[in-house]
């Protein structure tokens, strides 16, 4: 289905002609209709910086190590018989001869006078008629115009090029994309560019380069017979999606692409890449009300795939076939699930997708493709996020000695997916929640605040967080006894120095301690997640309270 939908998509975009591709062409040899140069020097289109020419659609395919001329768009060895430094003169001569005869044949078949002009020019010896610039680069592509018309753009030339390269000895088989009986491709002609982790020259979707990958006694790409047209179309379509930042997103070791069957102006990225509160509200409101007005848009098919690479092969890790409406609803649900109060206590919000991925690793580039895949699935299909991500996020909180907003958000997302009980809670501090993990988290945050307050603005060298966060969040019983004793000592210090803080923190501590009937010896993974959230919520709440108090004071002074 993936390939079929890509072929459908290729019909929507402006595709280069068959076996044409966009490549930088540096030199243009301008000819007159009689085949004589209109200018003594080829036109150099290179830009100053990287000396690349202007991109044009020109004949192109993977030449491999076989000598085949690329008609009207090859480098100087083929086009002019001028070799690179150290090139084998025999090879240069034979390549130029191949090029000449290819042009001559093209002129004969097409009968186009402009192609004949090029043939005439080549027969008369190009080097005798042209003056090459001093900085001539023999490895750059050269093309021709005749009376100002680019020869590569002529429909007759394009047709000739497609026919000439039609596989002649190919096995005729049923194409698995279009279902027609056509000559099948032995090897796919184009490469997929832009999938992280693959070879730099590109990857292939269909590839059987070792014995164990073959089937039914068929070699190479014959195991999955594809006709040249479909093969070219799906390769160009995926490349076009991958090259466009509005239809693909690369995170860590993976990339995902997405598109809609028709262009209906649905932009998924604005929701998951940078969820603006207004848009999120709109989306969630839509979820609540149901939406009939935009039905035509909502029924449009939506496709997404997450891809990674293994050497020369593209790996389809996931394939999602849905509709715009469904995706909207699920993304709304997803944003609702991960919405969490901000660090400083301000209104809850959702996180950018890459931040959630980043919440599981030290460096975003280390994120395995599986993480992105799991989060995308949860966003687009509404599947629960695997507990493994909870584990990874908790590990990060222990290493970082703090709970970031993205980590809290991811933890909440995992917990909500795993247990319906949490659906409507966990967005901000919930003073009525009696889960021991959650209470321990809140308690720990309170103890930390007591320590900070007792230090009275002086820096604490080794905080309780530095020393005890790991143990407190996994095996509370072992450390909380000591922590509470120390906290009471510090509180009594506070009583004299800062009575306001004393009473506030004393009450907070009492309140949590009363609810916490027993100190658990160990916390389950879910409880550890709740610990992190309790810790995060308590801090956010306290910051909000502190801010509100400061505002009240400021107002009172005015």
């Amino acid at each position: 289905m993936f390939l079929e939908k890509l072929v459908d998509y290729s019909r929507r975009i402006d595709l280069p002609p068959r076996l044409y591709d966009e490549r930088p062409v540096r030199y243009v040899i301008q000819l007159r209709a009689d085949g004589r140069p209109a200018a003594p020097e080829p036109l150099d289109t290179a830009d100053k910086e990287n000396k690349r020419g202007i991109p044009r659609r020109v004949p192109s395919f993977a030449r491999g190590n076989v000598d085949v001329p690329l008609l009207f768009a090859d480098h100087a060895e083929y086009t002019l018989g001028v070799g690179r430094e150290g090139a084998d003169p025999d090879k240069v001569r034979s390549r130029h001869a191949l090029y000449r005869s290819a042009v001559a044949e093209c002129a004969k078949v097409t009968g186009d006078p402009r192609v004949e002009a090029v043939a005439t020019f080549l027969e008369a010896g190009p080097l005798q008629q042209l003056r090459l610039p001093d900085d001539f680069d023999p490895s750059a592509l050269i093309t021709f115009t005749v009376d100002g018309q680019f020869v590569v753009d002529l429909p007759a030339v394009q047709q000739y090029w497609a026919d000439r390269n039609e596989a002649k000895d190919a096995l005729e088989m049923q194409c698995l994309v279009c279902g027609r009986r056509r000559p099948a491709l032995r090897i796919l002609e184009g490469k997929v560019k832009g999938i992280p982790g693959g070879q730099t020259s590109g990857t292939s979707i269909i590839s059987a380069n070792a014995e164990a990958f073959l089937s039914y006694g068929l070699e190479q790409s014959y195991i999955a017979p594809t006709c040249p047209e479909c093969g070219e179309r799906f390769t160009k379509a995926i490349n076009s999606l991958l090259a466009d930042r509005s239809s693909s997103r690369r995170i860590g070791g993976g990339v995902f692409v997405f598109w809609t069957r028709d262009d209906v102006g649905f932009d998924l990225l604005q929701y998951i890449d940078n969820p603006e509160p207004v848009l999120v509200r709109e989306l969630i409101d839509g979820l609540m009300q149901g939406r009939d007005l935009t039905k035509a848009v909502d029924e449009t098919a939506f496709y997404a795939a997450s891809l990674s690479a293994s050497g020369g092969r593209a790996v389809v890790r996931d394939w999602i076939d849905s509709t715009v409406g469904q995706v909207k609803d699920r993304v709304a649900e997803w944003l609702r699930r991960q919405a969490i109060v901000q660090r400083n206590g301000e209104e809850p919000r959702g996180q950018q997708l890459w931040r959630l991925v980043g919440a599981t690793v030290r460096d975003l580039n280390d994120a395995p493709a599986a993480t992105l895949q799991a989060l995308l699935r949860s966003a687009l299909l509404g599947t629960p996020v695997p507990e493994r991500l909870l584990y990874l996020a908790l590990q990060r909180t222990r290493a970082d000695l703090e709970v970031s907003e993205a980590q809290a958000s991811l933890i909440k997302l995992v917990l909500c997916g795993a247990n319906e009980r949490w659906e409507e809670t966990l967005t901000r501090l919930d003073p009525t929640l009696d889960d021991p993990g959650y209470l321990c988290g809140r308690l720990f945050a309170t103890i930390e605040q007591i320590q900070t307050a007792a230090a009275g603005g002086q820096e604490v060298k080794s905080t309780v967080v530095d020393r005890f966060y790991g143990t407190a969040s996994s095996a509370p019983a072992t450390v909380f006894g000591t922590l509470l004793r120390n906290a009471r000592v510090r509180l009594s210090q506070l009583e004299d120095s800062n009575p306001g803080a004393y009473w506030r923190l004393f009450n907070q501590l009492q309140d949590i301690a009363e609810r916490l009937t027993t100190l658990p010896r160990t916390l389950t993974l879910e409880q550890q997640g709740l610990f992190a959230l309790g810790y995060y919520h308590q801090h956010a709440e306290n910051r909000a309270a502190a801010r509100a108090a400061a505002e009240r004071r400021a107002q009172a002074q005015n």
């Binding site: 289905m1 993936f2 390939l3 079929e4 088989m173 049923q174 698995l176 994309v177 279902g179 979707i205 269909i206 590839s207 059987a208 070792a210 014995e211 164990a212 990958f213 089937s215 039914y216 006694g217 068929l218 195991i223 999955a224 017979p225 594809t226 990674s308 293994s310 092969r313 593209a314 790996v315 389809v316 890790r317 996931d318 394939w319 599986a370 895949q373």
Partner: protein, 215 residues
């Protein structure tokens, strides 16, 4: 030679923890079709009962459970096991070291699947008594759980369990075009095969396999 369809089809229920009905276009980094293919169904039937005197014609595949995906990456190898190399190692020593021939391959497969396969026996002789005999034999084997080898769901390592379908087995409510699907292979004398495809459509959880048109 086609059997007349006077008989109700033979049916067997198969289920398993995992399944991968690999799409040929993504067979190295495997991606499964969302439902069982006719050739995989034929494989299951042949594991339970097969004789050179008849062929199986799969007519319907019922999907009994929601499609669920999972993905794994495994260390596999680049070479195929060859009987002849094994014989040579036996004679002359030596062996095969998988560690030196590694290929990491990703698989997007199905989990927790169950299907009912309906199929007809087509005796090559075309004699009705043969057909009745084969049908009875098949029914007995399914009822007793006998098979020539353990049937599997697309990949050898994904074992399938089987039994007679119960009247409660209903296909799931899912209607969708699945696009082109591998129907089966046309085998030649030399053992090589040409894949054949058909437009697959799931109608209320039922995949109907149209009779093969002349190639």
């Amino acid at each position: 030679m086609r059997s007349d369809s006077r008989h109700p089809p033979l049916a067997v229920k198969v289920w398993g923890e995992f399944a991968c009905f690999t799409r040929p276009e993504m067979k190295v980094e495997r991606v499964s079709y969302p439902v069982m293919t006719p050739s995989a169904a034929r494989g299951v039937l042949e594991a339970i009962f097969w004789k050179p005197e008849f062929v199986w014609r799969v007519e319907e595949i019922w999907v009994l459970k929601e499609v669920r995906w999972f993905s794994i990456r495994r260390n596999e190898v680049n070479s195929r096991a060859s009987h002849r190399s094994a014989q040579r190692w036996e004679r002359e020593g030596g062996g095969y070291f998988a560690d030196e021939d590694r290929a990491q391959r990703h698989t997007l497969a199905l989990r927790d699947v169950a299907y009912v396969i309906s199929a007809q026996v087509e005796p090559k002789s075309g004699r009705a008594e043969d057909e009745a005999k084969f049908r009875d034999q098949f029914r007995r084997r399914v009822a007793e759980g006998r098979c020539f080898f353990q049937p599997y769901l697309g990949c050898r390592e994904f074992a399938a369990f089987f039994g007679p379908p119960s009247p409660d087995d209903r296909p799931i409510d899912w209607t969708e075009d699945l696009g082109l699907m591998l129907r089966d292979l046309e085998y030649r004398e030399d053992g090589s095969g040409t894949p054949r495809f058909f437009r697959a459509r799931l109608e209320q959880g039922v995949l109907r396999v149209p009779a093969e048109e002349a190639a």
